[in-house]
């Protein structure tokens, strides 16, 4: 028997999983495999390749809705939407260069299963907020659907939220329906240089507290910004604090003016126009440009925005690392550059003293096996996690232990 199953139809997939339930077989679900390095490594499993479940089955631009098979590549989805001046507003980043150095964009199923989102998370939400409905085969071998194709829907439990970010541990999705939105026709990035982390986050927070619909708010500390390929960002060896404004042209112009007025006291303000703005925020969402590519571990840390700078100070006392801020200071991307074996312990300890969570985003197989990849949960919550997994996948057929040991 081949070690890779590639079902041609949802029915094939159903048969595959039913068979696995009966025979004790286990599967690692895969689209393009572009994010295999995220989550705990999976051992002794056959590959369940969903690549043949591909194609856009419904796209109604005026209804702002698109349905596609789970294995449809993000490349084809992004291109189709772009042809109609639309996009996925949660800005799913391309992460393959972070993991296997390839140019793959991943699949829609992979983006949803990992609840990926980029800098626009702040204003537009994460993948979870754009998933309207899906069809899937549960680990128990049952074909089911949830949600629908309309945004306003409270009919029954919102299983879309449960599946988004479940890393394929509960069900293998076959079809996915997402909300799409018109692409903003103008975007601008405003930047100011030389601010310390704490001051920068205060400036970002101030801007986010105005009615400006800021769709990106990041801070690149000194020594990080110079890695950008955009001269405006990298030329001066100083920190760079940025916000993005998008929308209709007159509105963007008006909002830029407001920000410039407020920011004047912090230094000279520079502006990136649409082309460079797109390029720059792709670098932010792809993260790898600004981190140490050779680092042993890369972490994603989500905290209350006002606590981001202080947390980094604390971590830097014990850890040699590169780091930058997104989400107005609420998201810290960090690559650990020294050889310390204790970085996981240092980060977990720091997190135990404050609210938020840390994810080991990239590390060696060995590290992802011996350390918690996701923030450890309190017992009562872990009990629910175990029960959910057991109820949806009683035989542990799908992506065993991808998220938590023994689950």
């Amino acid at each position: 028997m081949s070690s890779v199953f590639s079902p041609d139809t949802p029915k094939d997939l159903l048969d595959c999983i039913k068979m696995a339930c009966g025979q004790g077989e286990k599967f690692e679900i895969r689209g393009q495999g572009s994010k295999r390095g995220w989550g705990r490594p999976i051992h002794n499993c056959r590959i369940l390749d969903l690549g043949k479940l591909s194609g856009i089955s419904l796209y109604e631009p005026k209804e702002l809705v698109l349905s596609a098979a789970a294995g449809t590549t993000m490349k084809s989805i992004v291109e189709t939407l772009r042809d109609n001046d639309q996009y996925l507003a949660f800005e799913p980043p391309k992460l393959s260069s972070l993991y296997d150095g390839s140019d793959k964009c991943g699949t829609l199923g992979g983006v949803i299963a990992t609840n990926l989102s980029g800098p626009r998370r702040l204003s537009a939400g994460a993948a979870r907020d754009h998933l309207l409905g899906f069809e899937a085969v549960s680990g128990a071998g049952e074909y089911f659907k949830s949600g629908g194709r309309v945004v306003k829907n409270v009919t029954g439990f919102d299983l879309s939220k449960l599946l988004a970010g479940s890393f394929g541990t509960l069900a293998a999705m076959t079809s996915i329906t997402v909300k799409v939105l018109p692409r903003p026709n103008k975007s601008r990035t405003l930047l100011v240089r030389g601010l310390e982390n704490k001051a920068a986050i205060k400036v970002l927070s101030e801007s986010l507290s105005l009615s400006l619909e800021v769709s990106g708010a990041a801070h690149l500390p000194i020594g990080i910004s110079n890695k950008s390929s955009i001269p405006y960002i990298s030329s001066d060896n100083s920190s760079v604090t940025v916000i993005r404004l998008e929308g209709h042209a007159p509105s963007v112009e008006a909002r830029c003016k407001i920000v410039k007025k407020i920011w004047r006291e912090y230094g000279d303000i520079e502006e990136l126009h649409t082309h460079n703005t797109e390029k720059f925020w792709n670098e932010i969402s792809g993260i790898v440009t600004f981190l140490d590519q050779e680092a042993n571990q890369i972490w994603r840390i989500s905290v209350p925005p006002s606590q981001g700078a202080e947390l980094l100070v604390k971590l830097k006392e014990k850890l040699k690392c590169d780091a930058f801020f997104d989400w107005g200071g609420g998201l810290i991307w960090l690559s650990e550059s020294n050889e310390t074996k204790y970085s996981e312990k240092i980060i977990r300890e720091a997190m135990s003293e404050q609210s938020g969570h840390a994810t080991l985003f990239r590390a060696s197989d060995k590290d992802r096996e011996s350390f918690d990849v996701f923030n450890p949960q309190p017992n009562a919550l872990m009990n629910i996690t175990r029960k959910i997994k057991k109820n949806f996948d009683p035989h542990g057929v799908l992506n065993p232990e991808r998220m938590y040991e023994g689950v």
Binding site: R128, R149, V150, S211, P304, G330
Partner: protein, 499 residues
């Protein structure tokens, strides 16, 4: 409406249960916090869906998370059902009491615990009303975006349970998109915290699944919401059409042009007339459909977009366009829409409000069918829509005192909802399933679909003691859901009857 079988043993033990719960609730508060007399219980006999009434076995009004935890643990240990209730404004019977259940009222959880402008969050107890969150931050020009029509009364805990919407959710999202964290108590008494003042906690998204779970998974004791800065300016437009289909097309074109208004509502002729007679908002009475489009943001953006919307409307044959010049005028435009339900209530003894959502493009087809149904059932219907997101609120007018009219209205409503599902929509956009649409769930979901939802229920409340009889038409015992029967590649489940 058939509800779960009465647990006679629980009813027999009522005095004992009261005694036990008195130990949990501090003695000095008995009078206030445990209600057992019939007059007192009567207050709680129904929620916003007043067609269904039921006295609860008793009412408990705890004041601390610890008391909620102990109450639930006691009930869990003694196999006693519990129904949680916020302000009781549910339109689908989500908080309808059960004769053999403890009704757990959260009215005393009425404090705002924390306002944090740096992180743009508010932490509130579940009994705090939706509007008071906005009121607590409005002096700093902040607000909480989801604004269900009942916002003056409905509680934030109930909003989470029902995943409430409102006229502004087209642009700003539903409750689920605006909450960051909750503290809740499970049926076994465990207290858990989900999320906080940060985004996207790792692990399964239980926060997401709690929103809209209609009180079946746990009792919420604290909610962390995101607050936003009030837009600089908002202006509303009244746009009248001779043809309701043209109005529908206009909505699609506005959105298709890349404009997401803060709110976009539609009313049909009957609803316009009722609202105008009631509020005198200045609505035109010679149009078939009226759109209210609100644009918010910086002034220059609004000026620019109003022109575009005006052009699009004219292209679609709008014969009437009025634009608000100041906030009080804007509020008058909305006043008629916001009072549409009571306005219809003035022209009919009773009305039955439906809540299906359809893909916007199906509006002409659905309206045509609804008119045919109106003739068939011989009942009038006024239509109010959240046009931007396809959420319909047909108001079926009837007289409960006339024999058979309630039944006809209910059948009419069911047929509308079935039609919504047929055209690719859903049974309920924002009011919830509750008891009202429970038995229609199978028109939208297969047995397999519903089983997966119940698998979530079983992880949180395996004995099915929290709010039973709501949402699910069929009661599966968790032990049966957990077992997977695989026989020659086929799964088998015993057929359990409807309750």
């Amino acid at each position: 409406m058939k509800m779960p079988d009465l647990n006679l043993e629980t009813l027999e033990k009522r005095p004992e249960i009261i005694k036990a719960l008195r130990k949990i609730i501090p003695e000095e508060n008995f009078g206030d916090n445990i209600i057992e007399d019939e007059d007192g219980l009567k207050v709680y006999e129904c929620d916003g869906l007043s067609a269904y009434c039921q006295l609860p076995m008793l009412v408990v009004l705890p004041e601390t998370t610890e008391q909620v935890s102990q109450t639930l643990k006691y009930c869990s240990d003694n196999d006693i059902k519990v129904v949680a209730r916020g302000s009781g404004t549910s339109l689908s019977g989500g908080a309808l009491p059960l004769a053999d259940a403890v009704l757990l009222g959260l009215g005393k959880f009425n404090k705002i615990i924390d306002i944090d402008y740096n992180n743009r969050t508010v932490v509130a107890q579940p009994g705090v009303t939706n509007l008071s969150i906005t009121e607590a931050v409005m002096h700093n020009n902040f607000y909480y975006a989801p604004d269900p029509s009942s916002q003056i009364a409905c509680s934030i805990g109930g909003n989470v349970a029902e995943n409430s919407g409102g006229v502004h959710c087209l642009k700003y999202g539903l409750t689920t998109n605006n909450i960051l964290g909750i503290e809740m108590v499970l049926m076994n008494g465990d207290i858990i915290t989900l999320g906080g003042k940060y985004l996207d906690a790792g692990g399964y998204d239980f926060l997401g699944i709690l929103a809209g779970s209609e009180g079946l998974l746990g009792v919420i004791t604290e909610v962390t919401v995101r607050i936003l800065r009030k837009p600089d300016l908002a202006r509303a437009m009244l746009i009248g059409f001779d043809d309701i289909v043209a109005a529908g097309d206009c909505v699609a074109s506005i959105i298709g042009a890349g404009i997401i208004p803060g709110g976009m509502e539609m009313m049909d002729k009957l609803a316009i007339k009722a609202a105008e007679d009631f509020i005198q908002a200045g609505y035109p009475l010679d149009v078939e459909a009226l759109l209210i489009v609100e644009l918010d943001g910086p002034k220059s953006e609004i000026d620019y977009l109003i022109n575009i919307v005006e052009d699009i409307s004219k292209d679609h044959g709008a014969g009437y366009i009025r634009i608000s010049n100041n906030d009080s005028e804007r509020e008058i435009f909305w006043a008629g829409r916001k009072a549409a339900f009571p306005a219809v209530g003035r022209i009919t003894p009773d009305y039955y409000c439906m809540d299906g959502t359809i893909p916007r493009s199906k509006l002409p087809e659905v309206l045509k069918s609804m008119n045919e149904m109106s003739e068939k059932y011989d009942l009038r219907v006024a239509n109010v829509f959240h046009a931007g997101d396809g959420n319909l609120h047909p108001l079926i007018m009837y007289d409960a005192n006339k024999e058979g009219e309630l039944k006809r209205a209910e059948d009419f409503g069911s047929e509308i909802l079935k039609l919504c599902v047929e055209v690719g929509g859903v049974l309920t956009g924002e009011h919830g399933v509750g008891v009202e649409k429970r038995d229609l769930m199978s028109t939208m979901f297969t047995e397999e679909d519903l089983k997966q939802q119940q698998r979530v229920k079983c992880a949180f409340d395996p004995e099915g003691l929290l709010n039973p009889g709501k949402v699910f038409p069929t009661l599966h015992r968790c032990s049966e859901l957990g077992r997977v029967h695989v026989h020659q590649g086929k799964t088998r489940f015993p057929d359990i009857p409807h309750f």
